[in-house]
Amino acid sequence: MRSSTNNIDKTKAAGRKFVLLAACGFFVFVLLSGMSSAPARKVSIRKLEGSRYQLIVSGKPYIIKGVCYSPIPAGQSHEYDWWSDKSKPWITDGKLMQEMGINTIRLYQTHDDLNEVRAVIRDLYDNYGIRSVVGDWLGFWEYPCPFYGDKKFQERIKNNVLEMVRALKDEPGVLFWVLGNENNYSCLGHVNPWSSDEIDREPDAQKQKTMRAKIYYSFVNNLAREIKKIDPEHPVALGNGELVGLEFAKESCPDIDIVACIIYRGKTFGNLFKSLKMTFDRPVFFAEFGADAYDVFANKEDQNMQAFFLESQWRQIYENLYNNKVGEGNCIGGTVFEWTDEWWKHNPSDPEAWKIHDTEGGWTNGSYYNDIRVTGGKNMNEEWFGIVAISEQAENGINKRTPRKAYYVIREFWKNPDLSAKKKGNKK
């Protein structure tokens, strides 16, 4: 019996050893397999039932709470190289952003020296946990106008974009890529018009628009496909003004993961979320939205209206996140236009005007109804969109930053995004 008992004990001990060994082996296998094959991409889109979408970052849902970032100092223009600014404005800004709750910035276009770009992205991520959505204009502001129908032009733009992707794809701070901004309006022929021999031969203006849209969206899709060959770990977004032209994107852009919408509809996005599902079923990231802080009709700064519009816009974004059953669930967040005012924008060709914070309206948008009554209807003040004002007074080697009311209102909203109707506006 004893012997038998001993045998049984030995057998049990051997069994325990085996189980332990097997468990260890399984653990090591899981660990190794996880390391070698990286089953989850760093950043990805997860589609849920009912065309609801999540942006997944390191395995967790991520809501983009961001700003568009272009820290041009007073007295300088868009040509200013802020990336190599010794005072590192992004360090001061990153701290303020972190205090507000910002987790993402949008960079419209990188810089010739991609090492400097990498340093900015890394500083923001390492110091403040802020990720970067990295974009490219796709030659939209080149002179003469962009020729999306020209193969040489396409090739040159593609090389630039892929160089950017190769250089930055391994930065942990990169969230995803955005191709273009409002380039789609050029397909209508009103802004930055471009053509090709084939388009010129077409007498019907409406058909010309269709031809341009097909050429443009096919080009963007090719870019997206090429990016994914190099970098399968970050989604690619299509920068698009409003929803204009997305019926063509539906046909031509199967490799696009996200619609990065540039949209200025005042206090509401209207039926955009539903419309997008019907035209081009992709998650929407609001790459640009917001309100200016100047009432051109009353001719004075109006931080209240800016804050009111922005809170209303963020409320709609939250109502349409994946986890809100009431909304469409296809929104993944947004980057407000913009972090700081840019004093060069009203008169880009006049260096003297860059030193002045211009108060003249630059374009018309009736959705911002508070000052639309101004003579001529130009109510949008391009130099006053910052949620942080700048002044010529220096602090930390850069223009002093003064957060506007919108900064605090959004901060409070993000802390407690209570969407119940009765609470609406109460925590302003």
Binding site: Y185, G189, V191, G376, K405, E412, K422
Partner: protein, 531 residues
């Protein structure tokens, strides 16, 4: 005993507070006595209001709130104190917004808001609905929610309207009613403010509104620039007039009101309302109801509303009924232009031009009609016919109408040199007259002139606006092709607006075609009348 004790405590608190604060301000001493003699009732209100004003002026909201709150600890149910406590926080929040004191605004703002709602609820609950303090409390509560743009503002407005209605019916003074109406109106709540203004009118007219009183009140609001209210009152006046007076008496009243609101270069106007009243006068008294002056004014008013078809009908009616009118030449010429270039009926337009050229004493419009006939022929490639009209014009104009003659000479030179018609003019005419351009309906471009009716050599600002379609934040590059009677601005402007003046009297026709990079956006046309 308990009440007496409360009053003594209250008086002591007020005294202490005022003595402290008044030490720097002598006039507060007198105020102190006034408040000390008061009880916790409405009589305290004026003194507290003055004190509050002083503190608010110095932005000492916390000090004032502390004082009021210390009193409220003793006598919680005092509505005047509750109102003042809320008023202090309301003004404090406004001040923090203006001064951008965001740290305090966001750190303590929600506490202040809770206090406002709490204090005002207590004030409203402690007085009868028709009480003046209750109305003021409701007004402040609504302003608070309205400023917040929160979900409670409609409910608060309903409460305010109910309160002010009760207040009005209880026979109290009218000033507070107007104050409430003005405040509601200042927030853009025109519909709801009208309800309160009606109460005010009833109050002024002793409940039974006499027709003449109603008209006078409407006129006073018209003169104040409160056109919404004036129109609402005139509507009530017209309705009562039609019910109680013969139409012979009512129609002149209608025409007087329509004239009041008709288009004019300066002063109060609402051309759409004016046309509504003109139409009512016509439906009441038939076409004969409108005399020569009224038909012309109606046509001019429609023209300035860009209701071209309506203007054409009215001008045609004037020509038909008053063929000897001083306005008839101008009316015929405008009919020619409207039909040719706006309604795309060149044949009918030509008939009007021909009619004027055959008419004796057609004045500047007769000369301009010859120019138009020459122009239409030149555009159609009928150079000989065009030249004949132009030569006839030169002959007829003699030493007058130099501006039209200058344009004519330019056209003759084009014909003589075998050149094409001026490119801006040709592009405008192509757009207006060619069938292939029928889709351009003048809805995307418009012109305005300020003033529309001017004396010779006086300055006119010609402005334009264009709706160019979706382009996001980017401005579409627009090309402005002006043509027609550009007056002193003979150098054609490529801008959206220009200043000009005219040396000769008559009706001036200003044309515009706007181009976008992808082609034509639209055209526009407008008249300026030089006296």
């Amino acid at each position: 005993m308990r009440f007496l004790k409360t009053v003594i405590i209250l008086s002591a608190c007020i005294t202490g507070f005022l003595i402290n604060y008044a030490s720097a301000e002598d006039n507060l001493v007198a105020l102190s006595k006034q408040i000390m003699d008061s009880k916790c009732g409405l009589s305290v209100y004026p003194a507290l209001e003055k004190t509050a004003d002083k503190y608010f002026e110095d932005h000492k909201y916390n000090e004032y709130s502390d004082f009021i709150n210390s009193l409220l600890k003793q006598i919680e149910a005092c509505p005047v104190l509750n109102y003042n406590a809320a008023l202090a926080r309301f003004n404090q929040l406004k001040y923090l917004e203006e001064s951008q004191g965001w740290d305090e605004y966001f750190a303590k703002g929600n506490d202040y808001r809770d206090q406002i709602v709490d204090n005002l609820s207590k004030a409203v609950g402690a007085v009868p609905v028709q009480d003046a303090l209750g109305v003021r409390s409701r007004l402040l509560l609504w302003q608070f929610h309205r400023d917040q743009q929160d979900a409670f503002h409609e409910e608060a407005l309903d409460g305010l309207i109910k309160g002010i209605t009760e207040y009005a019916h209880s026979g109290q003074d009218a000033d507070l009613i107007k104050e409430v109406a003005d405040t509601i109106s200042s927030y853009g709540e025109k519909g709801r403010s009208k309800e309160v203004y009606r109460l005010y009118v009833q109050k002024l007219t002793g409940g039974e509104v006499k027709l003449e009183d109603l008209k006078q009140v409407a006129l006073s609001f018209y003169n104040e620039g409160n056109l919404d209210l004036a129109e609402s009152l005139f509507d009530a006046y017209i309705e009562k007039s039609l019910d109680s007076s013969p139409k012979e008496k009512t129609i002149p009243e209608l025409l007087e009101i329509a004239t009041l609101f008709s288009y004019k270069d300066s002063g109060q106007k609402d051309p759409v309302y004016a046309e509504k009243i003109f139409a009512k006068a016509e439906s009441t008294g038939g076409k004969e109801a409108l005399g020569e002056e009224q038909i012309y004014l109606r046509a001019f008013n429609l023209e300035k509303s860009k209701d071209w078809r309506g203007a054409g009908d009215a001008y045609a009616s004037l020509v038909e009924r008053f063929s000897e009118s001083k306005y008839v030449n101008r009316a015929i010429f405008k009919l020619g232009i409207i039909h040719t270039y706006i309604l795309r009926d060149k044949e009918r337009g030509t008939e009007y031009f021909v009619k004027l050229t055959e008419k004796n004493g057609a004045g500047p419009e007769g000369v301009s009609s010859l120019y138009q006939l020459g122009l239409l022929n030149q555009w159609q490639g009928e150079s000989a016919k065009a030249k004949a009209y132009y030569n006839k014009l030169i002959e007829k104009a003699q030493d007058s109408f130099n501006e039209t003659k200058s344009l004519t000479n330019l056209r003759l030179k084009e014909i003589e040199e075998g050149r094409s018609l001026d490119s801006n003019l040709a592009a405008f005419m192509d757009n207006a007259l060619k069938e292939e351009n029928a889709q351009f309906d003048m809805s995307r471009v418009s012109i305005s002139a300020s003033p529309y009716t001017a004396n010779r050599d006086s300055e006119i600002l010609v402005n334009s606006s264009a709706l160019s379609g979706a382009s996001g934040c980017m401005q579409v590059e627009l090309q402005y092709l002006w043509s027609g009677d550009l007056g002193a601005n003979l150098v054609q402007s490529a801008q959206a607006n220009f200043n000009t003046s005219y040396r000769d009297p008559g009706t001036k026709v200003i044309n515009l075609l706007v181009l976008v990079p992808s082609g034509t956006l639209d055209r526009a046309l407008d008249f300026a009348d030089i006296e």
